[in-house]
């Protein structure tokens, strides 16, 4: 038998094929950078590609110290940091957040049965994770006993180091979350952690659609709940607002159960997201919202009678017959938000026309928080004016209830629904959007809609003006969609 020579070819480096970050990936990374900078952190970023064309992106302290190194190669995303016991590795950005929560069990003690519940969407979660790691890394850098995760330790020492790192990350994350809830509930926050609260405020600023309401804040107040009573549970949802995709424009309005964030793969592939903050209330009486139970994310770990209100369930909007997997297809002009530099925005505030910009009040609020450290969207006046601007109403005196305002002013008038495809009352609606909205209203007879040229407001249970929750989508062309009201009597599936 003739000898056969088998060549064990040494693996050669791949030929240089530049596979830089995609535009959506870069948009997400720079959005995170922007949020962190706006939050008061001093940092720098840089990116590059290796000799094999694999991309990396680093978050650095002002002195150049690299605190977070993100990379994508061999089909995997990787996040390295001195603050992490081990690198985070996953098949997507979202998977990195899962890896983080696997590595650092997050102890978000929000009294699940007695108070507010936390919902964080994976898209926003990456910003939270990076912010947390950045802050924790920075603390490590200035600690008296530096920890180098790359150092080789003995087993015992390594275990101790890992434990310390996890504890630091846990406390940083916990501080972030608690601060945000304190801010929501009381309008105040821990002075020493201003920058952390700022991240949340700026997350709202990015999309300009913060919709915290007095009701939401009220139910966050301690003592309102009894064990096992979910009736007034409030969910904080940091949800995504997808950027524009020329071929498929969608607005995602779904929330994700906090506990399930890490192990769910919500169908958002192909889109990138900005952070959005929504505050809604749960009720125990809207069990008719069966559509929510069909959602693979919402259904998991969620009982049938405890579902968030005002969430647009997939089933209601599946006018094309396809599962939208948590997405609301509206086909509007552009869902992306411009990258707004706060300083330049404020400097332009005195210019004509800016006063009507829907970002104005939120910008002012963020600025007030930054400058004063103790104020912000603390009052009915702040919030009402914010929302009024967001839906392009004339500014109110701040004390008016918005729903009453809708009905008592001529700024927005009630009209019949536009015929599908015609959309006379709302020129920016395309046929699909009109059909979707019409379908929604047909299935939910208690819901009503009002239109003007630039905005549509869908509201529910207008007679109860004390518990309204409001969600506003503001688009780059200035048009808006707002949903007002609550679903105590149930949206009929």
């Amino acid at each position: 038998m003739a000898a056969q020579v088998v060549s064990f070819v040494r693996r050669e480096p791949r030929q240089s094929t530049v596979v830089d970050w995609t535009r959506d990936e870069l948009a997400e990374l720079y959005r995170i950078e922007h949020a962190l900078v706006q939050s008061g952190l001093t940092l720098d970023v840089e990116r590059g590609v290796t000799d094999e064309g694999d991309p990396w992106f680093v978050f650095c302290r002002s002195d150049g110290e690299v605190l977070i190194h993100l990379a994508r190669y061999d089909g995997l995303y990787r996040l390295h940091s001195p603050a992490l016991p081990a690198p985070l590795i996953g098949q997507s950005f979202k998977a990195l957040t899962k890896a983080f929560s696997n590595q650092v069990p997050l102890q978000v003690t929000l009294k699940r049965d007695m108070g507010p519940r936390l919902f964080v969407h994976p898209a926003a979660m990456l910003a939270v994770v990076i912010g947390t790691i950045f802050v924790a890394s920075n603390e490590l850098a200035f600690s008296t006993q530096p920890i180098d995760s790359e150092k080789k330790h003995g087993d015992a020492s390594l275990a101790t180091t890992s434990h310390n790192l996890k504890a630091l990350l846990q406390s940083t994350f916990q501080q972030y979350i608690e601060n945000f809830f304190t801010w929501l509930r009381d309008g105040t926050f821990l002075q020493q952690s201003t920058y952390i609260t700022m991240i949340s405020a700026v997350a709202a600023f990015i999309v300009g659609s913060d919709s915290a309401t007095d009701h939401a804040r009220d139910v966050l107040t301690a003592g309102n709940h009894t064990a096992g009573d979910h009736t007034n549970d409030t969910a904080l949802i940091i949800a995504p607002a997808p950027t524009n995709d020329a071929s498929h424009r969608t607005a995602e309005t779904k929330s994700v159960i906090a506990q399930d964030v890490s192990d769910q793969s919500h169908n958002t592939s192909g889109t990138s997201h900005t952070a959005d903050v929504i505050v809604v209330s749960n009720t125990s009486t809207n069990s008719n919202m069966t559509g929510l139970q069909d959602d693979p994310v919402l259904a998991k770990g969620h009982d049938a009678t405890n579902v968030p209100e005002l969430l647009l369930a997939t089933a209601y909007f599946d006018s094309s017959g396809q599962s939208l997997a948590g997405q609301l297809s509206l086909g509007l002009a552009d869902f992306s938000r411009p990258h707004v530099d706060l300083a330049s925005y404020l400097s332009a505030a005195a210019s004509p026309g800016v006063a009507t910009d829907p970002l104005k009040d939120l910008t002012s609020a963020v600025t007030a928080i930054v400058q004063n450290g103790q104020s912000g969207l603390n009052s009915t006046s702040d919030i009402n004016n914010l929302i009024a601007h967001a839906i392009q109403m004339s500014p109110t005196d701040g004390s008016q209830n918005l729903i009453t305002y809708f009905l008592n002013t001529n700024h927005i008038t009630s009209q019949s629904l536009p015929a599908a495809g015609a959309s006379p009352g709302y020129s920016l609606f395309d046929a699909n959007a009109a059909t979707t909205l019409e379908s929604f209203l047909e299935q939910n007879p208690n819901a009503q809609a009002v239109f003007n040229n630039k905005s549509v407001v869908v509201y529910d249970d207008i007679h109860d003006t004390t518990t309204a929750t409001i969600k506003v989508w503001t688009f780059t062309d200035g048009s808006t969609i707002a949903i007002v009201g609550h679903a105590d009597h149930g949206f009929v599936a």
Binding site: G64, H69, R78, E150
Partner: protein, 100 residues
């Protein structure tokens, strides 16, 4: 982690870091190593770190100086001395200004 009192925002510091990166890249290429191969020999978890360093971002941790020198085929003292020129020019100047 090692802190560094230098402010990278200083253009001089940025330039020195870039020069350090180029120098490291030259050493690597002279050895015929790809970035991935160098990272492998250094036992680094992620090879993109090499590209980052060669761009002028970040620094080699001091406890890795000797290993880097060996892999790149440079005498350790000379390696550290050259690196110091880029990473810590003030100290370098004090130590070696009379000699050079």
């Amino acid at each position: 982690m090692y802190t560094n009192a230098q402010h990278r925002s200083d253009p001089k510091v940025q330039e020195l870091r870039r020069e350090a990166g180029l120098w490291l890249k030259q050493l690597r290429e002279r050895r015929g190593l790809s970035q991935r191969q160098l990272a492998s020999r250094l036992g680094s978890d992620y090879y993109t770190f090499i590209s980052q360093l060669e761009t002028g971002r970040g620094r080699i941790p001091p406890d890795r100086y000797r290993q880097w020198a060996e892999v790149l085929g440079v005498e350790p003292a000379e390696f550290v001395k050259t690196l110091m020129q880029y990473y810590d020019p003030v100290t370098y100047g004090i130590l070696f200004s009379n000699v050079e």
